[in-house]
Symmetry: C2
Subunit: 288 residues, 2 copies
Amino acid sequence: MKVGIIGVGLIGGSLALSAREHISDVEIYGSNRSEINLKKSMELGLIDHKLEDRLIKQMDVILLAIPVDIAMEHLVDLLDEVNDNALIMDFGSTKGAICQKVALHSKRGQFLATHPIAGTEYSGPAAALPDLFQDKIQILCETQKTRPDLLEWAQNWFRKIGMNLREMDPVEHDQHITYVSHLSHVSSYMLGKTVMEKEKDQSAIFDMAGSGFSSTVRLAKSSPHMWIPIFKQNKENISETLSQYINNLNQFKNLLEADKFDELHQQILEINNIRQILEGINRTNNNK
Amino acid sequence: MKVGIIGVGLIGGSLALSAREHISDVEIYGSNRSEINLKKSMELGLIDHKLEDRLIKQMDVILLAIPVDIAMEHLVDLLDEVNDNALIMDFGSTKGAICQKVALHSKRGQFLATHPIAGTEYSGPAAALPDLFQDKIQILCETQKTRPDLLEWAQNWFRKIGMNLREMDPVEHDQHITYVSHLSHVSSYMLGKTVMEKEKDQSAIFDMAGSGFSSTVRLAKSSPHMWIPIFKQNKENISETLSQYINNLNQFKNLLEADKFDELHQQILEINNIRQILEGINRTNNNK
């Protein structure tokens, strides 16, 4: 079986490792916008061959693991190009726009929109991990629009990788993911910005930063090549969620300035319930 | 040597373990507002005896590891009470108010204000760790006001524990720590609140939360018993820093809504430099 991976980075490279382990007689073809990273992914043994445009027709499966704007751009051409039994899947963090883009395509049945809830703040093929998807959630959108035999193959592969499958409407996906992923990124980026602006005056400040700070700004290391297209495609949801976040921050500030510490105490006690929720996440993610 | 620990929780308990290992012939006395936790700290072998009020005079060293408001309340009485060669140290996250409180005390020389940049989001004696302070920064304030022999003893002990000592003015400490600790807590609490408000309508949302979300809301698990007094004592700095953070979030939202993605991209590229800064932190903290 020939698997073509467009974008052999953190996600694409980890998919390559998962394909190598769980698909028999697999030959992996890969492409990358960076020639250096493409070479690296060969050196690392992630891919066997370069995925030239002329080889697209030969692929049985094509995995799109590139920024969401470029994935959208390529998808229609790829669907036009692939053979009639090939499956194309994308792995982006937004699902509404890409599903809409191919809604009326004659080969819609050969596409499956997915979002694995897995990743790190690092990018590139060297960041790929063999167990990145183990015990993680894999969201599948509009499965009824994917050809049943192709869908079944994909579901089997994801289960073999150790993923827990969830079906979700693409528009709902984009709303919900804003709260538990996109907002965290904005919050982290702006926290980093606020502290770095201060740091210009006072370089010793980072001496005082501990693990709590590292944890809250970890996502601020994430690449804009991946995240700006996500912000673009999910603009309305992010803007709305950000308003709610800013309102909560303003409300906190007002309570602080008005010395309403009892009210803040009560609020934080309620927020502490996030502990149970996070334990639930870790249970789900780790299957422990 | 008799060491009394007031508040045998995460910090106090970890100090107990560090005292046990690095102070010869140490006898550890402890107290706790919760009888259950006090018993637990005995069962865990953190302390040898209960620190009764009548025993305060016998202590050679007293470690205050309780919320910053209660530490302030107790410190003057404790200084009045201790013998003339005892040292009292506090380990709170705010330093301005406590230093001011005892500035004119006749036994000011027997007090040392410290802030270890170490901790986790957990509390209580069961959260104590033997290596919590290893390779961590320990901030010491107004060392010139502490009696040289007592200061030297404290510095030696902290170095033995593996801490890196930094001296800092208490008012500057409170300004700087706001950026790299207190703001992260507010940001995390409010992120948790925003998502939990949404979750009321949609319980499936947390299915979609991954490690990025866990990382940014980790601090939202922190206890209000510790944090409300910090917010109270450092109100002005937090309010000011929070304004800067909210401004940055509003600016991000405006750029997003105006489709100024090139500008956002540039901004994020600059924020990505936090990577080097965080690596610096980890190097300092881990001594690697």
